[in-house]
């Protein structure tokens, strides 16, 4: 499941961040910001127009991401906390 498909306020875990193109700088930055395997992630809110940007909580930080950026993030089910 992709991050863009995650329902609001449902927790999931990051599986991986995929490169859209070779040497994808955006994907690399996402990994640096904490989108790594096992990290808990949640969509907190969406923008008023076109459900974009997504307000994503990763670990303890909140980032606003475009759908195209969030689409790179693959998720898996979160085990019960």
């Amino acid at each position: 499941m992709k991050l863009t498909e995650l329902s609001r306020r449902v927790e999931a875990q990051v599986e991986a961040v995929l490169d859209l193109a070779p040497n994808d700088a955006i994907a690399r930055r996402l990994r640096e910001l904490g989108f790594v395997a096992g990290e808990r992630v949640e969509v907190v809110a969406t923008g008023p127009f076109g459900a974009e940007p997504l307000l994503v909580q990763i670990g303890f930080t909140r980032f606003a991401l475009r759908r195209s950026e969030a689409a790179r993030v693959q998720l898996r089910e979160a085990p019960a906390p």
Binding site: R29, L33, G47, P48, L65, E69
Partner: protein, 624 residues
Amino acid sequence: MSTASQTLRLALVGNPNCGKTALFNLLTGSRQKVANYAGVTVERKEGRLHTPGGRQFALLDLPGAYSLQAASLDEAVTRDVCRGFYPGEPAPDLLVCVVDATNLRLHLRFALEVRALGKPMVVALNMMDAARRRGIGIDLQALQRELGVPVVETVAVRRDGGKALLAQLDAMADHLHPPAPRDADDPHSDMHVELHAETRRLLALAVTMPTRTARVDDALDRWLLHPVVGLLTLAVVMFLIFQAVYAWAGPLMDGIEAGTGWLGDALGARMPEGPLKSLMVDGIIAGLGGVIIFLPQILILFAFILVLEESGYLPRAAFLLDRMMAAAGLSGRSFIPLLSSFACAIPGIMATRSIQDPRDRLATIMVAPLMTCSARLPVYALLIGAFVPDEKIGIFNQQGLVLFGLYAAAIVSALMVSWVMKKWRRDKSEHALMLELPSYRIPHPRDVLIGLWERGMIFLKRVGGIILALTILLWFLLTFPGAPPDAVGPAIDYSFAGRIGHAMTAVFAPLGFNWQICIALIPGLAAREVAVSSLATIYALSAADDDAAIQALTPVISDGWSLATALSLLVWFIYAPMCISTLATIKRETNSWKQMGFAAFYLFGLAYIASLVTYQVAVALGAG
């Protein structure tokens, strides 16, 4: 190797939003110097730091970076300076890595990355007060042991918040050493995965977090980012600010006006007759007084901007507006530079350095001069004060409404211009956002007051500097040469400036600009507010001819100009880049005369056409 007599060089490094700048201000006070790094348009902030132990350090505030794998020019500079590779910049002796204690999951990773450079380092756990308030427990000793570098607490917003750091610097200054060695890294593993794994290990060992985020942030974001409530709140907040600017500034402005009038009369009575008296009273006092009167409005507007900025609300506004801005060809990241441009486009244009995408950056730079900068405020305030009645429609003050309208018109124009540029560029590629929304903060009144004081001082220095100089020059050009013996019109018509102004009306008459306005526009090119002081001087000199008492400028204009002229001039000031410094900054930031020329051309062109249309339509509707 550094001896005690040599000044050691420190560098502050950290993620954005870690409170690095507040810490820098705390440690250096006013002993700061701002310039540029050699060859690039990245700001370089250096200051002097004094410790209780009597030592002096040079402190460099490096641009915030999420990672040493640089994604922007800013981050590249930070990376290179830290590694000692930046040409012309000596390598720092000690790195002070500032981390946000309330979000170690993100910030600690960067600290590990910096540690891997192998340079002497100290970790400053900033915002410890907020961490404690949220019940976050941090074992400093464990952290220090695992990291192999000293770890100290700092609270940048408290006056003595840097105590521990200063003590640490005193203790270690004479024997700097690299971090304690770690086990050799596995060369085959992915560095990112390693750093994150190590971060998690350290967190498990040394940090206890009660909940995932502050409940306050969650609750606030639930409403402030709501599609309807959020946008409504944003609109209401913006609107209230403009109402307040008018409602609260009134009595202060009256006071300043009374003071200026009194000063002019008192001086006029005591000075010897002759041109010197005219210079003092009609030139300097009338001219400067005409601008200083708007200081209260500027300060009130600023107070609001500062509070919004300190509170952490601005990225939320960027979030709400991102889609709309993206449709217009800008990025949500453009929001903060564009908002800065409401103060002055120059730091706003410089703030675009944080925009990674070069096309977004260029679009933002091109559009920043359209943001209603604070120098336009005296011009707007003068014209609104003269032509819009100080009455209410319902609960709204009309003057406040018109001011809001002018700002809104500027913003809408900026979006349209940007949209046109986007269509012209025909680019379909991706624009990154990735904007962090930091925790909300209650703005510290002290920081807001310091910010206001600085802004007020900047304004007054401008008045006492360039505005005073231009006023004197203009007075000179308006007074000499004097009228020939057989003159029929007022003396001012025969002066240098008078002749130039009359000549300019050939070009500007279709816009409804009289010769006085034309003259005022010339010094207005150096600084927009000078247009106001110039008008004050011009009219004061004209009045002096008739032996009339020095009047305030506002009634003179409301009697002498038509509504159509006033509207046309307002529209001119929305668009015209009446600020050579802004154009110079565009040239500097884009490194291109062509881009600067294009900006000047399209802005003046827009101004002329818009003013022309406004004036002709207004006259046709009977306002001429």
